[in-house]
Symmetry: C2
Subunit: 374 residues, 2 copies
């Protein structure tokens, strides 16, 4: 790694949480367009080419309307101003990071969603979502290529006494030839999200379709299920018990998937990855169950240490990533340590992103070609 | 049909829109529980065993919070009252019909959703949803039976120059044996809804899983896609042009489904059904394309007349249904006419329901055993 990169990362890390604290008023380009995540036909929220977001919400008798995005938590978001027409409008004080952001609207002290935006499950609620177009958005765009399917399955879970939901991405052409079998990636969401996150806000299916169409990966199946099997309260993650989820995943979901889909049902062809809390789960479960998974990936979700892994021969890949506004040096250092210890280990840092979904979309794009190479 | 039934239907039809206009104050049973459609962990909205709904929404500085449900459109819904804790609470003035209802919350003159409820696409927006437990809810309950999958597909649509989304229900065991092929029902949503409606608020997949587990039907595939291919504005349905949707359905989606799924790809094994506006589309397309579909079903979506059908030999089933609070006599009369003209025709009236999803869940349950019988 080059020296100027380290300096740049440090600078960005310092800048990260303060990037809206600037007091000078830049010129805002007047090319606002509806966010691509708006509900059909809705004009607002809008975004411009610089990454500013603009909101317009009707509430004629309201006293106060504040959008949670834009100034960082400490500053209380973007307050909107009421116009004579009963609509409240406002623009973020600065440009936002590229990619997907959750937000909500506080109206007269109550938390609601922007009626213009579609909703995405995060922070243990269906939040509003907005998309700042990324310069590299092409890799998760909906294109005229063969598309795989995202299947909702309901699998029996005796340990939790219910049928549980998972989503299964099957690549284009899946099922045409029963003798063709695929490796499987088990891919987990973060804290407060659910099994819808990776296909809704993560576009995992489109990322895969595009990589496959470009011939950059060998097709594989992705399985996404709910990872907060036992309830986690705010601040309660330290007392998190992995056992209930590990049981659902390893004893119930994996056997169901292997019985109902055309998988290669062995350890060398099974990977686990997760973002944030899903990384913590991946870390714990892969170490607990070396006979189940061979490829491990943590996306903004911690690191592996060489001494944690008992049998090096069972691990085919260690992948660790984060946004440049997170802890890139820690991630890279840990991967250097894993390489020095003889592991096939790869790190990835997403430029100019924080603990958000563009980091994880990019991480999946980088991870996919490294999986199941032999 | 027995005479007292006719009198009962007339009475209910008259009662229908006025069932909340009563001024006497009935005793409200204090057994309120969170609606089954609430977001995870949310206590409100709640429903009781009589069908009353109770709301609790935080908005400490608001001047006015009104829920759109409860008193009928003319009376303006259920106004909530602010408590000292900053929460607005209120209960519907009367019991609601069993089943699923869309609603929203008007806060200080702006339209938002209840932060406690999950969202469902209806009225051309993501609305809040609430479920009044139905006495017959068992038929769409999530049970410990083999479950089929709901697959999101993205199919190429040259006529609309994009990849379009559809959901495909495949029955339990689908794909295990490539030589096993299935008939297909194309099932359309109503005005202002989209392709998510039949599996989200309709529970079409669970209805099918349960009917199959009970041995009441032969398994078939269901395909659900977006039917408002050309935009329909409020009041604009009279000028609706069927051509764009008919092209997507018959020239693009059906060939894609037949190429990618194990279907019996012929007219005798292809049905079309739709609710409300989807019934209007079904009516038009089945008459335009007698060589494509053999089983026709209109759920709260109009009627067929014998003289509309040119070749009786091509039609295997005419099914027409509605809620008892809609136009049951018209529906039944039309089916009598079809029978008299020699058609295999069946009507169904859902008791004590209006133009809402419980009517259509029940209609699907009644329709499914009549499809593809030979």
């Amino acid at each position: 790694m080059k020296k100027y990169s380290i300096i740049l990362f440090l600078f960005l890390s310092i800048l990260g949480l303060q990037c809206f604290a600037q007091t000078s008023q830049p010129t805002i380009t007047d090319d606002f367009k509806p966010s691509t995540l708006n509900q059909p036909g809705k004009e607002y929220p809008q975004v411009n080419s610089q990454g500013y977001a603009r909101f317009k919400i009707e509430a004629p008798q309201a006293q106060s309307v504040v959008v949670s995005l834009g100034l960082g938590g400490a500053k209380g978001g973007t307050p909107l101003t009421k116009g004579d027409d009963g609509f409240w409008t406002g623009t973020t004080a600065g440009p936002m990071d590229e990619g997907f952001h959750y937000y909500h609207v506080t109206i007269d002290g109550g938390v609601f969603n922007d009626p213009g935006a579609c909703n995405y499950y995060g922070s243990v609620r269906w939040e509003s979502g907005i998309e700042i177009p990324a310069h590299d958005q092409d890799f998760y765009a909906l294109k005229d290529v063969p598309h795989g399917n995202v299947q909702q399955i309901l699998f029996p879970s005796p340990s939790t006494k219910t049928s549980r939901r998972a989503f299964v991405y099957t690549p284009p052409g899946y099922g045409a030839d029963k003798s063709k079998r695929y490796p499987v990636l088990y891919l987990q969401h973060g804290w407060g999200e659910d099994e819808t996150a990776w296909s809704n806000q993560g576009h995992a299916n489109l990322i895969m379709d595009n990589l496959i169409a470009e011939g950059k990966i060998k097709p594989f199946i992705i399985v996404m299920t709910y990872g907060m099997t036992n309830e986690i309260k705010w601040g309660g993650i330290r007392s998190f018990d992995i056992t209930p989820f590990q049981t659902v995943l390893c004893d119930e979901l994996i056997p169901y998937v292997d019985a109902h889909f055309n998988t290669i049902a062995d350890q060398p062809h099974r990977a686990m990855a997760g973002l944030s809390m899903g990384g913590m789960e991946t870390h714990t479960i892969t170490l607990n169950k070396p006979e189940v998974f061979s490829h491990y990936a943590l996306l903004s979700g911690g690191i592996y240490k060489p001494e944690e892994i008992k049998d090096k021969s069972k691990v085919k890949l260690i992948f660790t990533s984060c946004g440049s506004r997170e802890n890139p040096d820690g991630v890279k250092k840990s991967i250097e340590d894993m390489k020095a210890a003889g592991f096939n280990a790869v790190s990835y840092v997403s430029e100019n992103t924080a603990h958000e979904f563009l980091t994880w979309r990019r991480s999946l794009k980088e991870l996919a070609p490294l999986l199941f190479k032999d």
